[in-house]
């Protein structure tokens, strides 16, 4: 492979630059011009979204493989490349990121407190996320990964809610602990590779000894697994969700948790196929426990955001279970679930954010009867809850179907147990819907206006995506499996 490969317009770098330029633009706008800051933010987010949608249509899923490759040697002595590309695994993730950023910024339209800093940090966060998803160079993946982690602390600690300092600190410590496992693993692989390269695919071609694979896989799995809220490293996630402001919760649960699962898939499983096979039982075990455990703990929660946090633990368990099967169906389902869950959680947090902004509470017993005063805001949450239960013709149903088929085949006992989790998740979602939205009209919330059309737009977009890919799963699965079929053939 030559040191330089650039085919046409570097669209991936352009997508990344929308966030960097967005950040710069915000920095140069005076802090008191909040309206302008919001407009500029939304403008750059829109640009990123448009580019990602274009990418989605331009990607040739019949050809599959890496496309839109940008590969430039950056540091020769260490073998670091500016290497961006898309395939069927990261394309859905990029699209997801763009959608969540766009809707997240729109959701935060009514923010008053330190607007400038908030949006600047959000753009920094998303720059890191885009970077991880598009980069194919281990060094850059790690750098972008840490870039995406850093802004979480101030975003939660400054704009957060319940126990924000505790939540922010806990999240940061957990994720840094993950980083501390990932970095040595990456360096170890780089050293063992002996080819002086951080290029993911060159390392893949080299191949590693069984011992190296087993060692680095478990380090990478745990390191990234913390971010994907793998049980028992999940407790930071509900606490962090609860503490974070709405858009940050959306990005965090919608996108950031996917970084973890993506890291496992992109780095650990790509470089260590034997290691994956060795540890797959552990992965499946932790995932199944997470699915059932998350749903059961969610039953006992009284804070709306905790409920969603634990549902995320449960749903990310489905992703982990899909990956652990190492089959085409399972990985297809896992990637699809990452996308579907991202959109769904964004809708969840976006709806809760609206309710919290108006009522200043997200304690379920204090709410109740909200459907009477704000039917539209309530329906958004209820739709998200139905998607969470796995109602058919919503995107996550297909993802769960694929994962469960693969799981029952590969891990019969775990798969059946995880299926039982579906009953619990139905119970706990409907319980929350009932206690929050049904019941007598609560006089305390009578004065609260329903979502106005402008603020409904981002939620409508999210609902449409859920239903669209629920009706036409082919449009996403064809892209995913074009890459997953060759990927899974190596196991």
């Amino acid at each position: 492979m030559t040191s330089m490969e650039m085919a046409g317009f570097p669209i991936l770098s352009a997508i990344l630059m929308t966030t960097v330029f967005g950040l710069l633009a915000i920095i140069f706008i005076p802090a008191e011009r909040t309206k302008l800051i919001k407009q500029v933010s939304l403008g750059f987010a829109t640009l990123g979204l448009v580019l990602c949608i274009w990418l989605y249509f331009a990607y040739d899923h019949q050809r599959g493989g890496l496309q839109f490759v940008e590969r430039v040697l950056w540091v020769k002595s260490l073998g670091i490349y500016w290497f961006n590309a898309v395939d069927g695994i990261n394309l859905p993730m990029l699209l997801l990121t763009a959608v969540v950023l766009f809707t997240g910024i729109w959701t935060m339209w009514e923010l008053e407190n330190r607007v400038k800093e908030f949006f600047a940090l959000v753009f920094l966060l998303v720059a890191g996320v885009y970077g991880v998803f598009m980069s194919m160079d281990l060094f850059w993946i790690f750098v972008w990964y840490d870039v995406s982690l850093f802004p979480m602390y101030p975003l939660i600690a400054i704009w957060g809610g319940t126990r924000k300092e505790y939540g922010a600190m806990k999240l940061t410590l957990y994720l840094l602990a993950g980083s501390a496992l990932i970095l040595p693993a990456i360096l170890y692989l780089w050293a063992q590779g002996g080819a002086n390269t951080f290029d993911l695919f060159e390392l893949q071609r080299i191949g590693f000894s069984a011992f190296d694979q087993k060692l680095t896989f478990v380090m990478l799995y745990l390191g990234f697994g913390i971010l994907a809220a793998v049980w028992p490293f999940h407790t930071w996630s509900p606490v962090g969700h609860v503490a974070a402001p709405t858009a940050v919760s959306m990005i965090h649960a919608g996108v950031l948790m996917k970084l973890g699962a993506y890291g496992i898939l992109r780095i650990a499983m790509t470089l260590c196929p034997e290691g994956t096979a060795y540890w797959s039982n552990l992965m499946a075990f932790l995932a199944c426990v997470g699915i059932v455990y998350g749903a059961l703990v969610g039953l006992a929660q009284t804070d709306l955001k905790y409920v969603i946090g634990y549902s995320s633990v449960s749903h990310m368990g489905i992703v982990g279970l899909g990956l652990a099967t190492m089959t085409v169906g399972g990985i297809n389902g896992a990637v699809f679930q990452m996308f579907a869950h991202g959109i769904m959680t964004a809708l969840f947090f976006s709806s809760v954010g609206y309710i919290y902004d108006r009522t200043h509470t997200k304690i379920i017993p204090e709410l109740g009867g909200l459907s009477k005063t704000m039917p539209i805001a309530s329906s958004f949450f209820i739709i998200a809850a139905l998607a969470g239960i796995g109602v058919p013709l919503m995107a996550s149903f297909w993802a769960e179907l694929l994962v469960f088929i693969a799981a029952v085949q590969v891990f019969p006992v775990g798969g059946v147990l995880a299926l039982a989790g579906l009953i619990v998740s139905a119970l706990f979602m409907l319980r929350v819907v009932q206690k929050t939205f049904y019941g007598e009209k609560n006089p305390r919330w009578e004065h609260i206006p329903d979502v106005n059309p402008f603020m409904a737009v981002p939620r409508i977009i999210l609902v449409s995506i859920i239903v669209f890919f629920g009706l036409f799963p082919k449009l996403m699965l064809d892209i995913i499996q074009g890459t997953v079929i060759p990927f899974a053939s190596r196991f």
Binding site: V297, V328, K372, L393, L402, V408, V424, L430
Partner: protein, 647 residues
């Protein structure tokens, strides 16, 4: 897609089954504010569906074989999911039943729901239901059937909990969803196992494979038993039956549509849909037979003690569904499907009549309705009696014919216990239905004076709902007419239709063998006499206790308070489930895991943080900034190092 305009059958199928969805979308998005328009859109859509269904039924009545349309939905690896329609006599019949009942119920609702603030939303959900149910009926594969099956459950959840401000209503909706979900997870697992083991979910393929035993017996048994869980949940069979009576929280037309005639029939429909597959597994058939029998008896006993008219019909629905499951499990394909058809008609009739009473008297209690002059509402009283006669299996009403067919099948079983259970069920059914009828028609002490003089209710009706009464009465009259003719004139045509086309499929051998039940050991005439006398004896008993002039009107069960209590509390099933849920889930696992999260996982992490911080604080004492301490520590450290190296 190109074939769409050129193929009238496909066009009718697509239009008929998708228009209600369109109507739901239009109502929810655009016409929520305009109640009249919303209801018109919905009724027009279901009207088109009805027309399409009738068109299909008539066009394809003599078709040589099943018609199948199929297109790829998506594929993942070697798992292909097709979207398609499968039109055979069974699906065409069911499609027509659903369309007829849904149409009549929507017309009826124009009257029943008039003036309700949620009118538009009600019609949107009705459309959603009709769409899901019709698509489920004509689904070409088991997975597609499951998808719409779940959506039917969703529509049902939304309609039961329609008055969501009422706690009991939202509770009932949740209970229905979760309890059916328990069965559905089994169904889902059954599908997954079939995908893994057989790789094809097409309904004709499954039936062929079942009939020809081309898949391993163990696979058939396991998956059939799991799929049976779905039937148990959806059709409210034992032990997942208590959600159905609670679902009566929904409005009466909803109960008529969902919880008697169509939605709960989905389980039985699915059973008959893949009947040859099921019958390839004797274990699954025996299990179904036992479950159906237990359900039928249990539900009948519950119906004997309640005073709520809707509850009586709800329990009778469960018991009739149990009877259908028994029929199918005993191999009586036609008997089961036929009873499904007749039951849909007369049960919708019974509910819609009850709705008129409830609407007029604002109560569900049969004693009060009777006292306040329920019988003066002539049309519903007459029609309800027709429905009850059909339910009790009295000649010449439709229920008589289908019940006789089922008893014939049961008599053909090697063990006589199923036949006896069926006869007892018939007796109990007749008893509790006429208990209700006598309470309303012949109230104790006549009609009370207060309502007699006031003419309160009828005048109220004339004032507000003059035409609306007819919107409610016309569907009822139509259904009563159907109940009269469906048995007398349609048994043989239906039998020919249902069994005829199957002769062309490869599953035919098995089906024909099962569809011509011959009562072994018991002659046809004797069976007929037994069946009729069971029904008549039940009615006579009811008349003796509730109908005749100076009867006690308490029923023989009131002599046994503990049994009364047992029946009244639904054999303690609800209490058992509640307790199990509370102790095993809420107080058990949930609380245990939550504590684990808080105490052990977070505790450990916080502990690490605490000790790190404490360690830092401890060592920070060393960094006091006082030179002499630093020197002291240095000297001590050096001393220790020297000792270490020397020794």
């Amino acid at each position: 897609m190109d074939a769409l305009p050129r193929d009238p059958v496909l066009l009718a199928t697509v239009l008929g089954t998708s228009l209600p969805f369109l109507s739901m979308a239009v109502i929810l998005i655009f016409t929520r504010a305009n109640r009249q328009l919303s209801s018109r859109i919905s009724v027009a859509a279901i009207g088109c569906s009805l027309a399409s269904a009738l068109f299909l039924l008539i066009t394809l009545r003599a078709a040589p074989g099943a018609i199948q349309y199929q297109t790829e939905w998506f594929s993942s690896g070697n798992f292909n999911v097709a979207f398609g329609y499968y039109l055979d006599p069974l699906s065409l019949l069911m499609l027509t039943i659903v369309a007829v009942i849904a149409f009549l119920v929507q017309v009826y609702s124009l009257g029943y729901m008039a003036g309700d603030p949620g009118f538009s939303r009600y019609y949107a959900f009705q459309s959603l239901f009709a769409w899901a149910m019709m698509n489920m009926v004509i689904a070409g594969s088991l997975l597609q059937l499951f998808i719409f099956w779940e959506l039917v459950g969703l529509a049902s959840y939304l309609l039961i909990g329609f008055y969501y401000e009422k706690w009991s209503a939202s509770q009932a909706g949740k209970k229905a969803f979760v309890m059916t979900r328990v069965g559905d997870v089994g169904f889902f697992l059954g599908i997954i196992i079939l995908v893994i083991g057989f790789g094809n979910l097409g309904i004709p393929e499954l039936n062929t494979a079942g009939a020809s035993h081309s898949i391993p017996q163990q696979l058939i048994t396991v998956s059939a038993l799991l799929i049976l869980c779905g039937v148990i949940g959806k059709s409210a069979q034992f032990p997942l039956l208590t959600w159905l009576p609670d679902a009566m929280e929904g409005q009466t037309p909803v109960s008529a549509l969902l919880h008697s005639a169509t939605m709960v029939a989905a389980g039985v429909y699915m059973f008959s849909r893949i009947f040859p597959f099921f019958s390839a597994s004797p274990e699954a058939m025996t299990a179904a037979l036992a479950i159906g029998t237990v359900t039928m008896i249990l539900a009948s006993t519950m119906a004997m003690v309640t005073y709520d008219i809707k509850q009586v019909w709800a329990y009778s629905t469960i018991s009739q569904l149990g009877l259908m499951v028994m029929a199918l499990a005993a191999g009586g394909y036609f008997a089961g499907v036929y009873h499904l058809t007749t039951h849909a008609g007369f049960k919708a009739l019974l509910f819609l009549c009850s709705g008129i009473f409830i609407h007029s008297f604002h109560t569900n209690d049969m004693r009060i309705i009777g006292k306040e002059g329920g019988r003066r509402l002539t049309i519903p009283t007459v029609c309800m009696t027709i429905g009850a006669l059909a339910l009790a299996g009295v000649f010449p009403f439709s229920g008589f014919f289908s019940k006789e067919a089922i008893l014939g099948v049961l008599a053909a079983q090697p063990g006589k216990i199923w036949l006896y259970a069926g006869l007892i069920g018939a007796l109990l059914t007749a008893y509790y239905s006429f208990r209700l009828i006598f309470y309303i028609v012949l109230p104790q002490g006549g009609i009370s004076a207060s309502s007699d003089s006031g003419h309160h209710e009828p005048s109220h009706d004339e004032e507000h709902h003059g035409y609306i009464f007819w919107a409610m009465a016309v569907p009822v009259i139509i259904l009563a007419g159907l109940t009269l003719i469906l048995g007398l004139f349609f048994e043989h045509p239906l039998q020919g239709f249902i069994s005829g086309m199957l002769g062309h499929g490869s599953a035919s051998v098995l089906l024909v063998q099962h569809t011509t039940p011959e009562a072994h050991g018991i002659g046809h005439e004797l069976l007929l006499a037994l069946g009729v006398s069971a029904g008549l004896f039940g009615i006579a008993l009811a008349w003796f206790e509730f109908g005749r002039k100076d009867s006690s009107r308490t029923g023989f069960l009131s002599c046994f308070p503990s049994i009364w209590r047992l029946f009244d509390l639904r054999w303690f099933m609800d209490i058992f489930f509640r307790k199990a849920l509370d102790t095993a889930v809420y107080a058990g696992l949930t609380s245990l895991f939550t504590k684990n999260d808080r105490r052990i996982i977070d505790g450990a992490i916080d502990g690490i943080c605490f000790f790190t911080e404490a360690g830092g604080r401890l060592f920070s004492f060393l960094q006091s900034g006082m030179l002499q301490y630093n020197l002291l520590v240095m000297a001590l450290g050096a001393g220790v190092a020297i000792l270490f190296f020397l020794v």
